[in-house]
Symmetry: C2
Subunit: 135 residues, 2 copies
């Protein structure tokens, strides 16, 4: 459930090729205590605030605070919060998932491949939805 620098870079280029302008956060966030996502991607005013999670496991956990700060940031900014999840070595593409579709556990959220096959969205379907909603 680390950020995964190489995967993140690939995601940024995908978003770029889908017409988004993209800004990624600095690698280490020691300087400020401000909320922030890993990636902000905007396309003519449709803005995604994205927290990137990669894992070699098919089930992993995400800290509550990680999701909560994403939601706070997004509310303030005027962005839609999403987690972008990559299950490494599966050959599967990114799953995009809204915080409200994550499974709650005691101390945070559980992310599983099986669950995301149901509730996750592909990047492309997200962009298509954005076109229908915003243009």
């Amino acid at each position: 459930m680390v950020r995964g620098v190489r995967e993140e870079r690939e995601l940024i280029h995908r978003l770029d090729s889908l017409g988004f302008a993209v800004l990624r956060a600095p690698a280490s966030g020691s300087r400020t205590k401000l909320d922030r996502p890993d990636i902000l991607a905007g396309r003519k005013g449709f803005v995604l605030a994205i927290e990137v999670k990669t894992s070699r496991k098919k089930t992993f956990y995400v800290r509550k605070e990680s999701v909560e700060q994403l939601i706070r940031f997004s509310d303030r900014f005027g962005a839609k919060p999403y987690l972008a999840i990559k299950f490494k070595h599966t050959g599967l593409d990114w799953f995009l998932v809204k915080p409200e579709n994550l499974v709650k556990t005691g101390k945070g959220f559980k992310v599983s491949l099986n669950d995301l096959k149901m509730k996750g969205e592909s990047l492309e379907s997200l962009v298509t939805k954005s076109l229908t909603e915003y243009l």
Copy 2:
């Protein structure tokens, strides 16, 4: 006309206290060739893409490409492009200026204190304008 890390951090905290959610770009941009501003600040969908310039001189120059990539990024994202300019050791506050209000020279743009006293905006007036326009 460098970015000025300390000044930039101060600007980020100012924007934060004015109700913006703020993301700053990584310090060095060697990894990608994508356009990007130094700071993205959003407040309920009103988004500023900001290029930060600080100088000890009262007149300095900004490269054409630096401004052009800011405009390209902003157009794609759906943000308003601004340069945030701090004349160090003057005791003066930040000047915010739109690219179209910069003075063109042969290879770029000229920024002068005298000129910005006319054409620059304060952070607070920019926020007030955003309220009138967007809420």
